[in-house]
């Protein structure tokens, strides 16, 4: 600490007391800088990636080999049917982690420092949401990789396959504003997890993820038909396997827009009010 008796290094910043003249796209640049922070955190704690790496692998193996014969007559047919569903389900549950992480971060006080900086107040949240895109890409890659090993094959072309993957990533990205909102409203990280599972589980099971919806009772079918997960799964199936797409892609995009339109402003408002 001998150097400490010197004067601290200074630089003329020209910021203080001058009229704020921010460079353009502040929100974008600051959010990206903060997204980089989330990325570094993700690389530093690989065990936090279990939900997006191991979970799709386990689900695929268990569901295909336990239910495949009974549900679809053959494990290969069921694998073809199930993989888009598992991708949708794990990518949606993968979006829960952001709520848990934000809740922990805010408790630690680093968000206080962000809030004391001359940056847009929403930048830390937007940055965290964007940083998690890498997790959704990992879900997609690990699901397709284990699926390929087990015998899954894409029946369409690479462009449509990529479109299917991008749609799933976009869905998770938009949906993640819900866990962000929940993380501002509940006290502990564990509670975020509990609330989010209670919301995501009905969406993924009361859907076409595991079985076709035609055998379900009418009232449940009504729910399945509007369930955003159903539209996502039907879209990804169509884009991977060539099954009829109908309006599912449009419905999925509409749901994505809806998630952002409703949950993002609520989450930002809750964040501003949170002390």
């Amino acid at each position: 600490m001998s150097t400490l008796i010197d004067a601290p290094p200074t630089r003329s910043r020209g910021l203080s007391n001058s009229v704020p003249n921010p460079r353009p796209f502040r929100l974008v640049r600051h959010s990206l800088a903060l997204a980089k922070r989330s990325l570094i955190k993700t690389w530093r704690t690989p065990e936090a990636l279990i939900d997006v790496t191991l979970q799709p692998v386990l689900f695929l193996i268990i569901f295909v080999y336990v239910f495949g014969g009974a549900v679809a007559g053959s494990t290969h047919d069921y694998l073809q049917f199930l993989l888009p569903g598992i991708l949708a389900q794990t990518i949606a549950t993968g979006a829960i982690a952001i709520g848990v992480n934000l809740n922990t971060d805010i408790a630690k006080g680093i968000f206080d420092r962000f809030r004391s900086l001359p940056i847009p107040r929403s930048a830390p949240l937007v940055g965290a949401v964007l940083g998690d895109v890498v997790r959704y890409v990992i879900v997609t890659v690990s699901t397709l990789a284990i699926g390929y090993v087990m015998g899954f094959r894409i029946d369409t072309d690479p462009f449509r396959a990529i479109a299917g993957c991008l749609l799933a990533v976009l869905f998770a990205l938009c949906l993640s504003w819900l866990p962000v909102l929940v993380s501002m409203k509940v006290r502990t990280a564990g509670a975020v997890q509990g609330v989010m599972f209670a919301l995501i589980m009905p969406l993924s099971f009361a859907s076409n993820v595991f079985v076709g919806a035609d055998t379900l009772p009418g009232w449940m079918q009504a729910f399945v038909d509007v369930n955003p997960m159903t539209h996502l799964v039907a879209s990804v199936r169509g884009l991977f396997l060539g099954t009829p797409l109908g309006n599912h892609v449009w419905w999925t995009l509409a749901w994505c827009a809806g998630f952002v339109a409703v949950f993002m402003p609520l989450a930002l408002r809750a964040y501003r009010k949170k002390i």
Binding site: T3, R11, H30, R37
Partner: protein
């Protein structure tokens, strides 16, 4: 507005549910000086800092930093302040360098500027060797230094230090004091909260004592010490048989009051200045009295509060939340 005041607050009020954290607090800090805000847990220190650093809005009253209102001109205020919280708020998963570069980027220093500023601060805070390790591997003292460095990335004119040495051992505490002194030497204005009169005395040009969200005293360290009593010299002779002779010497070097046995085998006497320490050492040597303990103390926060309010600071900790602004 007085041209010289960098931090001004009048009548700050903030209530959390039933807890009245601030009940009309005035603060004033002239440019280039250090204000020590002294008070026990729950006195409202952190709430005041959070209002001044734009994290909270006051229920009533107003505050300005460099003339900019903390509510209406919050954005301008944020451009000239640095905040170091009570808990080291750096990102533990990022390295020291990544933490500082992140803040540099957010403060519009540009890629090269952020890198250069991070390197300067790492060097200045003696963290260069640890720069590329995640902050979670840092010791408590290193984390505090990194935390403080993070608040200096933008070269702020005004620095808020919320209990910067709480939880540090005495040697690390003095390192931190050196840092604060050199910041001020460089022209920064500092508002520092603390629970230690000793710390406020070592660093501050003026001390504001707050309790239950109210200012109960505002004075220079000398003025405050005149009110609450100055330093106390404590001595423990190795041989209890020397107690009477030790007491005699202490009474002579002290400020007039007779020496008092405050604990078994330990004598204490109020003194007026540091010279009493050296003088007593010389006299003990002449008298052939060996001592095992010899120390100079400022009154503790409890004693300050007892003098100012007639009760101790910790007395009411049980009846109110200790952490009003967690």
């Amino acid at each position: 507005m007085t041209a010289d005041l960098v931090i001004e607050a009048e009548g700050l009020v903030k209530t959390f549910g039933k807890t009245r954290a601030l009940q009309g607090v005035d603060l004033a800090v002239p440019r280039g000086t250090v204000l020590g805000v002294l008070g026990p847990n729950g006195a409202g220190k952190t709430t005041a800092v959070r209002i001044l650093s734009t994290l909270l809005t006051p229920d009533a009253g107003s505050a300005r930093i460099s003339g900019f209102d903390v509510v209406r001109d919050a954005e301008r205020v944020r451009q000239s302040i640095g905040l170091t919280g009570q808990y080291a708020s750096v990102d533990e998963d990022l390295t020291g360098r990544q933490n500082l570069e992140l803040f540099g980027t957010l403060l519009e220093l540009g890629r090269t500027g952020a890198r250069r500023r991070a390197a300067e601060l790492l060097d200045w805070f003696d963290l260069t060797d640890a720069a590329n390790r995640p902050a979670k591997t840092y010791s408590g003292g290193m984390r505090r230094r990194l935390d403080l460095a993070a608040s200096l990335v933008g070269s702020p004119d005004v620095i808020f230090l919320d209990e910067p040495t709480t939880g540090l051992d005495p040697a690390k505490r003095e390192d931190m004091w050196d840092v604060v002194r050199s910041l001020v030497g460089n022209g920064s204005t500092v508002l520092l909260t603390t629970q230690y009169l000793e710390e406020a005395d070592a660093l501050a040009d003026a001390i504001t004592v707050i309790d239950h969200g109210r200012v109960i005293a505002h004075d220079t360290p000398e003025g405050l010490k005149r009110v609450v009593g100055g330093q106390t010299l404590e001595v423990r002779p190795s041989d209890p048989a020397h107690l009477p002779r030790t007491a005699e010497i202490l009474t002579q070097v002290g400020s007039g009051a007779p020496a008092d046995e405050i604990r078994k085998g330990v004598l204490a006497v109020p003194v007026t200045d540091d010279a009493a320490l050296t003088e007593s050492v010389a006299r003990f040597a002449t008298a052939g009295i060996a001592v095992t303990e010899l120390s100079l103390h400022l009154p503790s926060l409890d004693e300050v509060f007892f003098t100012l309010t007639g009760r101790t600071a910790s007395e009411d900790d049980t009846t109110r939340p200790t952490e009003v602004a967690a």
